[in-house]
């Protein structure tokens, strides 16, 4: 059964109900007490996000300092429920201007009630698209609590048709003076490297973010340098593809607006975009990933009270490019007393709150290398039998204009019946996902 929820609760970390909505009658109003009693106040919290207590099941997620708890008593669709929570939070954030926490909920509780009523009916998720909901659920009360001269709810004409329409994510009649599209290719590189330097797991998860300021109802078509798309194209046009790097996407998922059947048959990404900012697609690549950084650590434990840490970092992307905000965290034992450093660039210090040496380099040019050597002094403790388990070194960075996968946008075509011209902007950036090096 695709029912996702019988009740939704928003709790703060103490377990107080901030807001709740009962959608169905099959769970008692006080089931949340059982949740508090059996999950929040026990060690069970965090051991499993789906739990059964008595005749009810609880799914919960923590988002900043709020627990969102869904209660059901039937064989509900859990995937649907969790996705609903994720989407609802995104919706609230877009209404509150970015933040979602206890205060934001308290400050907007009327609005949240109104949204909860709209986005789910009898436990079935309805339209959660912020773009459309903002047409007729406004923050009138918030904006001006004292001016009563507001026009009485004049809903945007066709609002209801748009909620339910086939293009339920874009409203009609948009007009922009200058028609612009911004494309951001954002890639996260995930790496797990063994202490011996061999790559255990490595993949790129990428997103294509889009910001559209286009008039009317445009049809867009996006072309990338991926293998399947290119092959298909060359078949259709019966001419060989231009030489150049092609890459193989392991998997792609698309925003609701992309016509999946067409993608499946013609391998083209065609869509009518929502207005404003949205995530057009996600992709995953495991083959042929260009790792932007190599990390070579050597850690020596000298007796019980001293450690020598040497970390060499090499940037292996183009010499004209550079990385920003590079941070390398090298875990050290809890009983670390102090550390002295020598670095060829950037700054390093010992951060006791995360038990790590933190080395930061603001700007790291391509094809260079940098080293940090540190001497760590440990407080000698009564010998613990258990040896120190070394957590992996973690790295953060951003490399603008670089894609670890090699993905490039080949074209972005915009058709609109009025035939206006559009300006397209494309940016690339690669960030560190979970970039871990065991040591």
């Amino acid at each position: 059964m695709p029912v996702a929820a019988s009740a939704v609760y928003f709790l703060n970390l103490r377990g107080d109900v901030l807001i709740n909505r009962l959608y169905r009658d099959d769970v008692g109003g006080n089931m949340v007490d059982a949740f508090r009693m059996h999950i929040m106040q026990t060690k069970e919290l965090g051991t499993c996000p789906v739990r059964q207590i008595g005749g009810c099941s609880f799914f919960y997620m923590r988002i900043s300092n709020v627990y969102i708890v869904i209660v059901v008593s039937t064989n509900a669709n859990v995937a649907c429920a969790f996705k609903f929570v994720v989407e609802a939070v995104a919706l609230f954030k877009s209404y509150f201007g970015g933040s979602f926490d206890e205060d934001a909920i308290r400050n907007n509780f009327v609005l949240i009630y109104e949204l909860l009523d709209e986005i789910m009916d009898f436990g079935y998720p309805q339209n959660l698209s912020p773009e459309i909901l903002k047409l007729y659920i406004t923050q009138e009360g918030v904006r001006s609590p004292f001016s009563s001269k507001q026009p009485l709810d004049k809903p945007v004409p066709n609002a209801t048709l748009q909620v339910t329409g086939a293009v339920g994510w874009r409203r009609e009649g948009l007009v922009y003076k200058k028609n612009e599209v911004f494309l951001d290719i954002v890639e996260s590189v995930n790496l797990l490297m063994s202490s011996k330097g061999s790559v255990l797991r490595c993949d790129v998860t990428g997103k294509v973010l889009m910001k559209c300021f286009l008039s009317g109802m445009p049809d867009l078509k996006l072309g990338l340098n991926d293998k399947i798309g290119l092959e298909k194209e060359s078949q259709l046009k019966s001419r060989p593809t231009k030489s150049g790097k092609t890459i193989e996407l392991d998997d792609v998922t698309f925003h609701q607006c992309v016509n999946l059947t067409r993608f499946n048959s013609e391998k083209t990404v065609s869509f009518v975009p929502p207005d404003g900012e949205f995530e057009l697609m996600k992709y995953r690549i495991t083959e042929g990933v260009n790792l932007p950084f190599r990390v070579l650590p050597t850690i020596k434990e000298l007796g019980r009270t001293r450690m020598e840490v040497n970390v060499k970092v090499k940037s292996v992307f183009g010499a004209k490019m550079f990385a920003l905000g590079v941070v390398i965290k090298v875990p050290v034992p809890k009983q670390t007393a102090k550390a002295s450093f020598q670095v060829t660039s950037g700054r390093a210090k010992y951060n006791p709150s995360i038990d790590s040496l933190v080395w930061k380099i603001k700007k790291f040019p391509g094809q260079t290398e940098s080293t940090m050597s540190a001497e760590v002094e440990l407080i000698s403790t009564i010998a613990e039998k258990k040896s120190w388990t070394r957590p992996p070194i973690q790295m953060e960075f951003q490399v603008p204009m670089f894609t670890a996968s090699g993905l490039r946008v080949r074209f972005l075509k915009v058709w609109e019946k009025s035939g206006y011209n559009t300006v397209e902007w494309v940016r690339y950036i690669t960030k560190a996902g979970s970039y871990e090096i065991r040591c």
């Binding site: 059964m1 695709p2 109900v17 901030l18 099959d26 008692g28 007490d33 059982a34 508090r36 059996h38 965090g46 499993c48 996000p49 789906v50 059964q52 207590i53 099941s57 799914f59 008593s73 039937t74 064989n75 669709n77 969790f82 996705k83 609903f84 994720v86 509150f96 308290r106 400050n107 907007n108 509780f109 009327v110 109104e114 009916d121 009898f122 079935y124 959660l128 923050q139 009360g141 918030v142 904006r143 609590p145 009485l152 809903p155 909620v163 339910t164 086939a166 339920g168 063994s194 255990l200 998997d251 998922t253 609701q256 999946l260 059947t261 499946n264 995953r284 258990k386 992996p392 979970s434």
Partner: protein, 896 residues
Amino acid sequence: MSGHDSKYFSTTKKGEIPELKEELNSQYKDKRKDAVKKVIAAMTVGKDVSSLFTDVVNCMQTENLELKKLVYLYLINYAKSQPDLAILAVNTFVKDSQDPNPLIRALAVRTMGCIRVDKITEYLCDPLQRCLKDDDPYVRKTAAICVAKLYDINAELVEDRGFLDALKDLISDNNPMVVANAVAALAEIQESSSRPIFEITSHTLSKLLTALNECTEWGQVFILDALSKYKAADAREAENIVERVTPRLQHANCAVVLSAVKMILQQMELITSTDVVRNLCKKMAPPLVTLLSAEPEIQYVALRNINLIVQKRPTILAHEIKVFFCKYNDPIYVKMEKLEIMIKLASDRNIDQVLLEFKEYATEVDVDFVRKAVRAIGRCAIKLERAAERCISVLLELIKIKVNYVVQEAIIVIKDIFRRYPNTYESIIATLCESLDTLDEPEAKASMIWIIGEYAERIDNADELLESFLESFPEEPPQVQLQLLTATVKLFLKKPTEGPQQMIQVVLNNATVETDNPDLRDRAYIYWRLLSTDPEAAKDVVLAEKPVISDDSNQLDPSLLDELLSNIATLSSVYHKPPEAFVTRVKTTQKTEEEDYPEAGEQSYSDSPARVADSGASPPASSANPQHPASRQPAAPAALPDLLDLGMDNSGSAIVSVDQPASPAGPPLPVVLPASSGQGLQISAQLIRRDGQVFYSMMFENNSQVPLDGFMIQFNKNTFGLAAGGQLQVPQLLPGTSASTLLPMVLFQNISPGPANTLLQVAIKNNQQPVWYFNDKIYFHVLFTEDGRMERSTFLETWKSLPDSNEVSRDFPASVINSVETTLDRLAASNMFFIAKRKHANQEVLYLSAKIPRGIPFLIELTAVIGTPGVKCAIKTPSPEMAPLFFEAVETLLKS
């Protein structure tokens, strides 16, 4: 842009309710609106503002949509507690449902459906009828869901008014969202009805698959879930369907992807072409892997489902094992599931890599995870013969690190490896023995002792090693005692010298005279007799060759697996249990008795003071327990804790001092472990049914001198596979206090073979005392499910369809029916539902139905002369072997 609603939460100094009342009746619109917001704020934090009902409803007639919505919200919350006043709102509702603004029309219908007050339901019909045919799709899509709401309140009304047909018409609506909601509503209605209401023909199928392209993401989920029940006629149709569903795998919404996978897997069953199947497997892998980059909670759901999928179709992810490698920062629940899948995907090809991972995990911080990693190495050794040696060498390396729990876990798995590959790896025993002193966990100790006994002839100082354990024999947990006993016997049989002979005497003495554990005692006596009558026979028995084990842990039974796969993405697939094991889809329990048992109420409960307000199906707690009539303790009446009452913020509320006059309490539970045999701990317990679930209602009384804590419970195999559905929640018991608890039970866990019986063997332990064993009785009627009600026609059909050999009858000469009404009420309270009655001469003949889990029905015919002792009970059921238990239950119920 952020709101400032928090001001509504601040309380004012004056008495809050009167002030709100005043503001609600203010002549200024803004003031009224603010007041309603304050009321809603108060409602949110749990204050009772129902007394303002009339005043709030007065604000309902407004043109301000925001205010209207707030008032509606208030109505949804409080209409039930003020049914008479709720009628005041009806006019506005009806008027709103004809408003020119479609948003208001939809709002009115949506809200009315949420108000479950009978009087309002009647007025709902006309507006609903109109809205189902509304011009605006937004109104229609809301009305479609409203039909499901109404069906939940009053199914008959929906059928009488022809809403089902209207709903079916909406499947052909030109708006995709209306179609999706209509499908969702129909699927739900179908689920709660036994009649075919929503049958998917190949025509609807095709229409819905077309609608799929234009639906919202959620609508796609509704449709895919509904269609996954469709059985294609042949392989060609199945291929066609799959082809149209496959594009959904590329959707960004994980629920769409999982529902598409579910549907594809279902249809794949029919597809014969291996090429097509291989191709589909190839297509499903990437989307499944992509789910692992979602939020951890979604990853968890995906992993639980992948666990099922790889059991059915191992090829799908055979080459993707790397994506299941744990990240350091993965939440523990994700890591645990990944590990489980890694074991399933481990093969000769990838084992080296996998072992390196496991070894890495075994040095992490989280103890549970480390243990599971060590165990995983052992399971791989058992699964992959060619890799066994490598696995063992990794285990030995880990043992050398000398981390206590790693060593213990390693020994437990090495024991299994010895069982799997006898006479292959015994050379490592010496290494194991080095860690002997550090073992302190029962399972590890027991495993080590088993190894010593099994290989006694190869271990030179086996007798010394065993002897070191013997000193503490009486204090050891039963698991270790049993192994010690067996190991000593093995040692003696293998080396019948003086040392072992002395040892065996000590052990046998300890295990017979000085123990009150029946398992241990029985086993010891068997050995004793064997040894004293025929030592050769003893050898044959004790040293017999053992069957080789295989790694079937966590493998599901194929039929269960198929059922779970048809439930992908749902709770069932996460719990790995069929839906009926945890869903008690009984709406009746949620209603009050007044609604459901109009004339029953009083009589049926009059003899049972344990009446719990919102449990429609309270167990007959007062019925006599024939096993322990004498040991019943009138002294300390236990307050039956209601699960829903647990919210009492006083955390000590579960502990009721015996000296205090106990709160209005139910009849005492039968004593199952008297204080005299429990070293001062007294346990009373009984199986009960409540809210559609079986609970073990227990009370612990500590009459000893020490505080007791760390209570755990275990159930032996039994006919119904009853087992604990959760942790036993008992707080620390100080001397002289008691605590009650309700332990949820699950069925069909560890089913004991053999003829059906009602024996329930229970073991309870705590940190201070030895393990206590006692026998309890399973009351068969506790298992009767709430959905046992049968239509008269179904009853007749079922009766006819069952062969006569399935009919069993029995006389209860001592039972008497004094009043048909009272009896029926009492039986209804135990989920035996009345169907019809007739008179035969001076006898009354009653027909009833009941159902036990897994949907086994019982058709019952009771014949009796009113007021005269002697009741004849005849039943017909697909499981006649259950008849004796059933009769026992009926007899008990009639007696009470």
